[in-house]
Each structure stands twice: as structure tokens, then as C-alpha cells.
């Protein structure tokens, strides 16, 4: 018998409703998945990949409809099947792993109760048998304490472990197909790697077919046999992973790949003895009585970019708050140009405030939605430089040109009429309007798609060269660090673990944590995860390794 594909989607069109009209989400995409095959579905936000993934299960969310096309699973037409037939398939033969495990587990029931629900309801196994099997799956997924973890409530288990519990739940009926919807996006890199390794293992072990949805190319390179690239609801290209990585045929795919290669030329070492623009000296800080920072010290020199890296909760943003004066340190001091700053921003002079500017992660919340672009940029111009009327307008126009936006076209627009990347540019212009020496960039690219993010990085680099600005670049993304940093400060649990010039930081020997952090960042090489696992062993990656420190 010739191999019939497991999933066959033909010319599928999906539409979403907003304001009483239906707008296209997916325009006529075909998708074929063989038994045991893993398909990576990648694309930027708004490409429609999650909607397409759910449609492969014959399911659409509220306000979404399949307007045309066919979806077949193992020869069953999912679009005309009755609700009862579909229920029989879902959970039993097709399973789903959601992005946020914390929100997708019912808070009112224990993990094991939710795990056994599928098998028991579908009549695959009895409760006792299914519990035994659950523990076995937990063990296979290398969860700590596999006998007990199932008897906890979801909120008692950490994010990375919860994500693996959900994978176990999806596996509970041994389905033929699992849809993974960005399962590691919300996790830190060191946690992500563990989850990736265990997902890949178990899918291989049971020869389950999977659709792996993500925006991260490096992740999909590790997981998928075939990759399908989507752009705004259209298919760009489909090929097996190695071909796709080595020889993409489409322009869009090529540009996605190229992003990873942006890197600035090295700058000469800082003169010893020169006064740093900003110096953080022995800073301790606390939120209320909870200490967050312990003895943090580092210097930032003119024209340089210092990347502060670390995972969530490492104290990078708190350090920024200490520098701006929003959170006065409980010990230590902040010096700007050799001058000690008052710890509280309210005590700082207008000129001191002007020197330190900030660009935020979420451009949406950083711009007042009720002010026009012109007003937003004009305010600091007027406030700090005292310009009025035509002079002010001229300065704003110059700033808009500096960030590569046509002044006449954007001056009167509202932030809501701009794209994410353009909004971020306005944030940069607002910071520049103060004519500062020093700018704090707080995860400025992490909410943006890769191509847009690269544009922002290039702009920041150009502005630095032209205006000899000093940047403090807060990020958790090591690819960004590689692209833009001159110096790197690694933070963990409110302490500086290691610091130095970038060239040295990316070369061994490292501090153990830096090493772990660096090695956990997925690379485009499809063999990267396999190599890493053979090199280090399954117990020396991710949180397990962090715990050993």
C-alpha cells in the first residue's frame, strides 16, 4: 500500500473577524504531513502559523473561520465531520501542546488528574494504568521526581517542568500527531534547551508526527525534518531542513537567514584611565525588603555599547532603574562623567536628567497613544533645549530624518498608525531629542520580528558612530549581544558574574554560568542539539546544570 499522508490540507483559506468584517489570515496554503514526520512551521508574528496549526486539528478559535479548502486527517475530512467524530479524534489521535503551560493547565486540578482525563474519557486505558503510564512518561521526559510531580497543582510546578508535563499529557493516548504551538517561547534559554531535548526525544521514541510552530529558526532547525516558511498568510517555501538552511530559494527566506550574520567591526580597547561616561559603583538595591542587587559594579565608556545579559530575574532591568534614579540604591553610587548623581531622580537637575535617556522594550506602552509623533518628539526638544515654533519644528524634522522616517509623512500621525519597528524608532528619536550622552536600551528588539529588529540594531549602531553615544544594552538574547556589543556584563541573581570585552567573553575559558548561558543558545546548525547532548550529557544542560552550581 502506498503511503497515505497523515495530514492533507489543500488550498486552505482562513479568515478572522474584526469589526464585523472578515479579514484573511491564511491564503490558500497546502500542507502535507507523513506519519512520523516533524514539520516546522515558521514565520513572524501575524504570519498565521498558530491559526494554521489549529486548523490542522479541524479547530478554529472564536472569530476565525475556514472559508475554503479541505483538511483531511488519515482520510477523515475534518471540516465536514460531525462534532462527535471530531471529539473522538482530538486528544486521542491528535494532541496539542500550547505556548503557555501555566495558563493551559486547569488551576483547580492536579496534574495527574488532567493527565489521565484523556485516556480515561477516550477509553484508551483505565485510570490506574494511565497513572502508571504518566509516571513513565514523566521519567522519559526527565522530570525530577516523576512519581510525585503529578500529584501537585500546576502553580506548584515551574514553567519548564510544566511544559514537559503538558507534552506528557499530549502523549498520554499515544497520538499520531501532536501540534506544538511555540512551546518554548516563554522560557529562558537554559530552561528551553531541556524542554527541546526532551520533546525531541519522546517524539522520536514513539514515532509521532508533529507540527512544530515557532518563530525561532534555530529552534526549528533542531526539531524539524521539514520546514515550511509563512509570510503574512502565504506560503513562501517548503523544503527539508538541511536544504532549507543551506540553500534557501526565496528572497524572504534568504533575508531571514542573513539577519544572523550582522556584526559590527571591533573597536580599539578603552584607554586605561579615561573617565567612564557612566560608572555603577558597588550598588545594592532592594524592592521593599527584598534585596535584588548585590554589589554591582561596572563602567561604560564613551562611544561604546555595554550589553548587560542575564535571564529573567537576574537584575538587569533593576540596574537600569538604579541608574535612572527610579529606584534609589540602598548602597553604592552612580557616577556620570565622574560626577556623583543624586540617587533619586527627583533630586537630579534638568541637565543631569537630560544626560541619561531610555528606550523601552514595548514601544506600544512607551509612546502616549493620544499624542502625535510630532508632539512626542517635540516635548523633550522644548523641555530641555527651550526651542519654540519653527526652530522646534526644524529640530523635530531633523530627528525624524535621523531615524529614517519622512518628517512630512509622520509628523501628524498617532502611534497607533505606525508599525512596531516605526514606533521603536520614534522611541529612539525621543531619546535623541534630549541630546544625551548615554542611552539605556531595555530589550529594545525583543518584541520585534527579526528583520525589523535588525534594522533597529543597524540604526542604533549608525547613530552611535555619528553622535558617539554610549549605550547600555539590556538583553537576554545572545545573538543581539554578538551583533552590537563592545563589552559584556553577565548577571545572575542580582550579581555580576563575569564582565569584559566581547571578544574575550565569547572565547573560553568562561565562568561556568556564562558558559552554560552561551552554550544554551540554539544555533542554526541542525546538528547543534545532538552535538551538545553528546558533548555534555543529558544531565548537564539547562536548569539541571544551574542547580548543580
Amino acid at each position: 500500500m502506498s503511503e497515505e499522508p497523515l495530514v492533507k490540507m489543500r488550498d486552505v483559506w482562513l479568515e478572522g473577524r474584526s469589526d464585523e468584517t472578515w479579514n484573511p489570515i491564511i491564503n490558500g496554503v497546502d500542507l502535507t504531513l507523513q506519519k512520523g514526520e516533524v514539520l516546522g512551521l515558521i514565520g513572524e508574528s501575524g504570519a498565521g502559523k498558530s491559526t494554521l496549526g489549529l486548523a490542522a486539528m479541524g479547530y478554529t478559535r472564536d472569530g476565525v473561520r475556514i472559508s475554503k479548502g479541505t483538511v483531511e486527517f488519515d482520510g477523515i475530512d475534518l471540516l465536514t465531520a460531525s462534532a462527535a467524530v471530531k471529539r473522538e479524534l482530538l486528544g486521542k489521535r491528535i494532541a496539542y501542546v500550547a505556548q503557555s503551560a501555566a495558563a493551559s493547565f486547569n488551576p483547580a486540578h492536579k496534574l495527574m488528574d488532567q493527565h489521565v482525563e484523556g485516556p480515561v474519557q477516550h477509553g484508551v486505558m483505565g485510570r490506574g494504568e494511565s497513572e502508571e503510564d504518566g509516571m513513565e512518561l514523566y521519567r522519559k521526559l526527565r522530570l525530577p521526581n516523576p512519581e510525585q510531580i503529578g500529584f501537585r497543582y500546576p502553580h506548584q510546578v515551574s514553567g519548564g517542568q510544566l511544559q514537559r508535563c503538558m507534552t506528557a499529557m499530549a502523549m498520554s493516548c499515544r497520538p499520531d500527531l501532536i501540534i506544538f504551538d511555540e512551546p518554548t517561547t516563554a522560557l529562558d534559554v537554559t530552561t528551553q534547551i531541556e524542554v527541546l531535548a526532551s520533546i525531541r526525544d519522546i517524539v522520536e521514541q514513539f514515532n509521532t508526527a508533529a507540527i512544530y510552530i515557532t518563530h525561532d529558526l534555530a529552534v526549528v532547525a533542531q526539531m524539524a525534518d521539514t520546514i515550511k516558511v509563512l509570510l503574512k498568510g502565504d506560503e513562501v517555501e517548503t523544503a527539508d531542513t538541511r536544504t532549507m538552511l543551506s540553500a534557501p530559494t526565496q528572497e524572504y527566506t534568504k533575508s531571514l537567514w542573513a539577519v544572523r550574520s550582522f556584526e559590527r567591526p571591533l573597536k580599539p580597547a578603552v584607554h586605561t584611565g579615561s573617565v567612564p561616561v557612566v560608572s555603577v559603583q558597588n550598588v545594592d538595591a532592594a524592592y521593599g525588603t527584598v534585596p535584588v542587587l548585590h554589589d554591582v559594579s561596572f563602567d561604560m565608556h564613551e562611544g561604546r555599547t555595554v550589553a548587560v545579559v542575564g535571564e529573567s530575574g537576574s537584575g538587569k532591568s533593576t540596574t537600569a532603574r538604579c541608574i535612572t534614579g527610579l529606584l534609589p540604591p540602598s548602597a553604592g553610587q552612580i557616577m556620570v562623567d565622574g560626577e556623583v548623581m543624586p540617587p533619586d531622580y527627583r533630586k537630579r537637575s534638568k541637565d543631569q536628567l537630560r544626560q541619561v535617556q531610555m528606550i523601552y522594550q514595548m514601544a506600544d506602552t512607551a509612546l502616549n497613544p493620544r499624542m502625535s509623533i510630532g508632539q512626542i518628539i517635540a516635548r523633550p526638544v522644548e523641555f530641555y533645549l527651550g526651542l519654540k515654533g519653527a526652530e522646534k519644528r526644524k529640530k523635530v524634522d531633523a530627528l525624524l530624518e535621523q531615524i529614517e522616517l519622512e518628517p512630512s509623512q509622520y509628523y501628524h500621525r498617532l502611534p497607533s498608525e505606525l508599525s512596531g519597528g516605526q514606533k521603536q524608532r520614534i522611541g529612539i528619536a525621543r531619546a535623541l531629542a534630549a541630546e544625551p550622552k548615554f542611552i539605556i536600551c531595555d530589550e529594545v528588539t525583543s518584541a520585534l520580528d527579526q528583520l525589523v529588529a535588525e534594522g533597529i540594531l543597524r540604526l542604533l549602531a549608525r547613530l552611535q558612530d555619528e553622535l558617539s553615544l554610549t549605550y547600555m544594552f539590556i538583553t537576554h538574547d545572545l545573538a543581539t549581544v554578538r551583533a552590537i556589543a563592545d563589552e559584556v556584563v553577565v548577571m545572575k541573581d542580582g550579581r555580576v558574574v563575569e564582565q569584559g570585552p566581547k571578544v574575550e567573553m565569547f572565547k573560553p575559558p568562561h565562568h561556568a554560568y556564562t558558559d552554560l548561558l552561551l552554550s544554551s543558545v540554539p544555533e542554526m546548525d541542525p546538528d547543534w542539539l545532538t552535538n551538545l547532548l553528546t558533548e555534555r550529557g543529558v544531565d548537564n544542560i539547562g536548569d539541571a546544570a544551574v542547580d548543580k552550581m
Partner: protein, 330 residues
């Protein structure tokens, strides 16, 4: 578990403190009255002896702080004082034996009001919760829109409008229930129920609308959560999704809705009792307001406020108890 207990004890303590402060506010408000209100209540024609006797009776010659503690002490032991109307009557007739205390006056009426509130709750709670869940399940259908219009209208209408409409249709045009609720002690239960039906239905209309809308909002909110989608994608039957996954999490908001709306009944009861001449505490309150019988007003106000605070406290504690995060700490 100790964690939850501490939180609940904290809430209880906070509730008691609020009650104490509320009693001070009520007391001070009453003492904002100008000059000598014994004089003003008796009118210009009162004899100086009568005024003096009332002053003494009510302890108006004492300083304010002393009076507050006397009053509070009285309230705690169930002595709410003597009403002006009664004291007035006593001083004119020269006897003191006829004067009943406020506590005696309020007790039976309090019972009547509780009776009315319970009938209302018995009808309104199941009705509105079922309706609310249905509207949430079939949202954006004709059914949902019709109930939306109906409940919005009934929330917006003043209680007396609903009361007169019900009187018109259920008492005058179709004499099913009596339009006056003359209830007295020793009345058989069925008759009492029949006579309380119209006020209870009026209150039901008002409360149901609120409760239904809040239940609907809570359930819709819940149904949008990822774990409900997960349950559906596990291929569970719609019934099981609702019973096993939605309800345990809906309990907290629904209990909250019930308690809040029973608290809302308190306001509604005043007007409704007046329309139907129902001998409850609300009517006594309004009558006392009209004749400026301050001690009674004060006492009723305190009772209403206490009920209100207790119900809100119940809502608070119930939602703490039903939160799995608090019940099973890490």
C-alpha cells in the same frame, strides 16, 4: 493551610474594624444635628419638663465621646435605645410603661425583611445563574441579545416602576397576588408567602438582572481561558468541559456575585417595602426618616451597614477559599 487561615483572620479583623469605623461615622453624622434636637423633635409647644426628661432619658447632656461608648455598649448588648416617637408619646402621656425599646420595635420587622430577602434569594439565585450560564454559552445569539436588552432594561428601571408594573399585571388586571403585603405574626406560611410574592418578584427582577450579567461576564471570561481550549482540544464532551473544567473555577466568581447582589438587595428592599407597605425594617427606616426619629434611623442604618459589610466579607472569604493557589501553597 495556615496561610489561608491568616488571610481570612486578617479579612475578619479588617471587617470588624470597618464596622467599628462605620458605627463612628453614623454616630458622628447624627450628632451633626444643630443645637438641641430634643427641643426640635418635641416642637415649640413642648413643656420644659418634657424636654428635660427626654434629654435625661437619651443622655444628651453627656459629652459626645461618653455617649458614643454608651451607645456602642448598648448596641453590643442588644439595647438600641428608645425611639423619639415612643419617648415623645411616653412624656406626653406621663407614663413610661408604654414605651417600647427600639430593639423590640425592630426585631419582628427584621424577621420580616429577612423572610423577604430569603424568598427573593431562593427565586433569584438559581434562576439568574442558570440564565447567566446559558447566555454565556450561547453568546452573541438572539437569545443572548434578548436577555441583554431585558436585563439592561430591568437594571435601569427604578424599583418602584417595576413594582407598579407587577402590581398592574399580577394584582390589578389578573388578580393572582395581593398588592398590599399586610403581614402579621402568626400568619400561616402559605399565606405569608402569597402576600410577600409581589415584593419578592420585584426584588427578583432587579437582582436577577445584575446577577445574570455578572455571571455571564464571569463565565465568558472563564471560557476564554487557555485551559478551557485545552480541554476542548483533548476531545472532551461539552458537558464535561463545563462541569469538570469550567465550574470549579467559576465557583469563586459566582459566589462573589451572589454575595454582592444580596448586599445590593439591602438598598432595593427600602423602596420595595414602601411600595407594598411591607412591614419590614426598610419601611420603618423610611418612616423614621420622615419624622426624624434619630435613634431609630441610627439603629436601622447600623443594621443595614452591618448586613452589607458581612455579605461583602463573605464574598471576600469565599473567593479566597475557592482559590486553589491559596488553598495549596507551594
Amino acid at each position: 493551610m495556615g496561610n489561608v487561615l491568616t488571610i481570612i483572620l486578617q479579612r475578619l479583623a479588617l471587617g470588624l474594624l470597618t464596622l467599628l469605623i462605620v458605627s463612628i461615622v453614623i454616630f458622628i453624622a447624627v450628632n451633626l444635628l444643630p443645637g438641641d434636637f430634643a427641643q426640635s423633635i418635641l416642637g415649640q409647644g413642648a413643656t420644659p419638663e418634657a424636654v428635660a426628661s427626654i434629654r435625661e432619658d437619651l443622655g444628651l447632656d453627656q459629652p459626645m465621646v461618653t455617649r458614643y461608648f454608651q451607645w456602642l455598649g448598648g448596641v453590643l448588648t442588644g439595647d438600641l435605645g428608645t425611639s423619639f416617637a415612643q419617648a415623645n408619646f411616653a412624656s406626653f402621656s406621663g407614663t413610661t410603661s408604654g414605651a417600647t425599646t427600639i430593639a423590640e420595635q425592630i426585631a419582628p420587622r427584621f424577621g420580616n425583611t429577612m423572610f423577604l430577602a430569603m424568598i427573593t434569594a431562593a427565586i433569584a439565585v438559581p434562576f439568574s445563574i442558570i440564565l447567566g450560564i446559558l447566555a454565556a454559552l450561547y453568546r452573541n445569539t438572539i437569545f443572548d441579545r434578548a436577555t441583554n436588552i431585558f436585563t439592561l432594561s430591568s437594571i435601569s428601571s427604578p424599583e418602584f416602576f417595576l413594582a407598579y408594573i407587577l402590581i398592574l399585571f399580577l394584582a390589578v388586571l389578573n388578580p393572582i397576588f395581593p398588592s398590599l403585603s399586610n403581614i402579621f405574626d402568626g400568619m400561616p406560611f402559605s399565606e405569608r408567602l402569597e402576600k410577600s410574592m409581589l415584593p419578592a418578584l420585584t426584588l427578583t427582577l432587579v437582582v436577577t438582572a445584575h446577577m445574570m450579567r455578572m455571571t455571564r461576564a464571569a463565565i465568558i471570561n472563564l471560557l476564554a481561558s487557555p485551559y478551557i481550549e485545552m480541554a476542548r482540544l483533548k476531545g472532551l464532551s461539552p458537558m464535561r468541559v463545563i462541569v469538570k473544567h469550567a465550574l470549579p473555577n467559576a465557583l469563586a466568581p459566582i459566589i462573589n456575585v451572589i454575595a454582592l447582589n444580596l448586599a445590593y438587595l439591602i438598598t432595593g428592599v427600602v423602596v420595595v417595602e414602601v411600595v407594598f407597605v411591607y412591614p419590614g425594617i426598610g419601611q420603618l427606616f423610611v418612616d423614621s426618616v420622615k419624622i426624624r426619629d434619630i435613634p431609630v434611623v441610627q439603629a436601622c442604618c447600623l443594621i443595614f451597614a452591618t448586613a452589607f459589610i458581612l455579605l461583602n466579607l463573605t464574598a471576600d472569604i469565599m473567593s479566597i477559599l475557592s482559590n486553589p493557589r491559596l488553598r495549596h501553597p507551594k
